[in-house]
């Protein structure tokens, strides 16, 4: 009888320990998520479309999540964008024009074979990869709504290349 009571007590205290630790882990993950989404996060980017600025095999960059929420993304910024063709894919491109700017496209993509010039519509930006020969960007899928921008790249972490 006594040993049963003792065992129950032991279970209770173990369970309490586990719950406390799980809570600490949960709190830490919450903080991490908040920092990741609203402040700044390390991101691995790869692919040929931003050569020579970014490596093809992979670069770890720091992206900040503040500028795009306060509308501070400007021409020349390298941004992380959700691909309008595939919502599960994040792509890295450079902003070339903002709403109201005039853009010229030559042949290719959805514009057919003629060179066209038009104005970037309200609420959209025009993005292009630094390597125009190997980049699917606004020349192919058109201007991108500003709401698809998820962060601005501001630092490349050094020493990752082996």
């Amino acid at each position: 009888m006594l040993s049963q009571k003792l065992r129950l007590q032991q279970w209770r205290s173990t369970a309490k320990n586990v719950a406390d630790r799980a809570l600490i882990v949960a709190k830490f993950l919450c903080f991490l998520h908040i920092a990741d989404t609203y402040l700044c996060a390390p991101t691995l980017v790869h692919g040929p479309s931003m050569l020579p600025t970014l490596n093809m095999r992979g670069d770890v960059v720091l992206t900040e999540r503040v500028s795009h929420r306060i509308g501070n993304v400007g021409v020349g910024d390298v941004v992380l964008v959700v691909s309008p063709e595939n919502p599960r894919k994040m792509i890295t491109k450079r902003v070339k024009a903002r709403e109201g700017d005039r853009v010229s496209v030559f042949g290719d993509g959805i514009w057919g074979d003629v060179s066209r010039s038009f104005v970037v519509p309200k609420g959209h930006v025009w993005v292009q990869g630094d390597n125009p020969y190997q980049s699917r960007d606004s020349r192919i899928f058109g201007p991108v709504p500003y709401g698809l921008i998820k962060g601005r790249v501001f630092l490349r972490e050094l020493g990752i290349h082996t």
């Binding site: 919450c30 691909s83 309008p84 063709e85 595939n86 519509p121 309200k122 609420g123 709504p145």
Partner: protein, 165 residues
């Protein structure tokens, strides 16, 4: 001799720290829940009459089906407006990628010409229930799937209409 001023301030500061840590923790949990599980939102405006009244309603928005890709035609969705990224609008999802959408360019004019558009890959077509007073995909085109912010599934206020949507 009672506790010194310094000790009083010290204990006060500790209590304040504990209280603010509690508040911060609470907000973190709330934010994570709102991002991944469900969210509450207030919808207003004429574009979704008669489903939603003009004066505004409070609804619950489901974020899980968005991430699992389980949003289907007929769902009421919250969309970040492609015309103004600071605005989130409420519309009904009418078409998914690959659908051919036919619509009247101006529903107020009788016998007006119709347009047919194919929804491109990765995009959806949204329309307000009140086609006469709604700026939607008929105006700004198909919307990239990633601009969707959630699926409206429950009405909380006004209380007479409490229930599933």
């Amino acid at each position: 001799m009672g506790p010194s001023n310094f000790q009083l301030w010290g204990s006060f500061a500790k209590e304040a720290m504990d209280a603010s840590m509690l508040v911060v923790n609470f907000f973190c949990f709330l934010q994570v829940t709102r991002t991944y599980i469900f969210n509450a939102a207030s919808v207003s405006g004429p574009s979704m009459l008669p489903t939603f009244s003009l004066s505004g309603e409070i609804v619950l928005v489901d974020r899980i089906s968005l991430r699992l890709g389980k949003i289907s035609r007929g769902d009421i969705v919250l969309v970040r407006s492609p015309e103004n990224p600071r605005k989130v609008i409420t519309k009904r999802l009418i078409g998914i990628e690959g659908d051919r959408m036919t619509f009247a360019v101006d529903p107020r004019r009788v016998g007006d010409d119709r347009k047919t558009v194919t929804v491109p890959k990765g995009h959806v077509w949204v329309q307000g229930d009140n086609v006469y007073e709604s700026r939607d995909s008929r105006t700004f085109g198909a919307v990239p799937y990633a601009l969707l912010q959630g699926r409206v599934f429950w009405r909380v206020w006004p209380l007479e209409d409490f229930g599933a949507l």
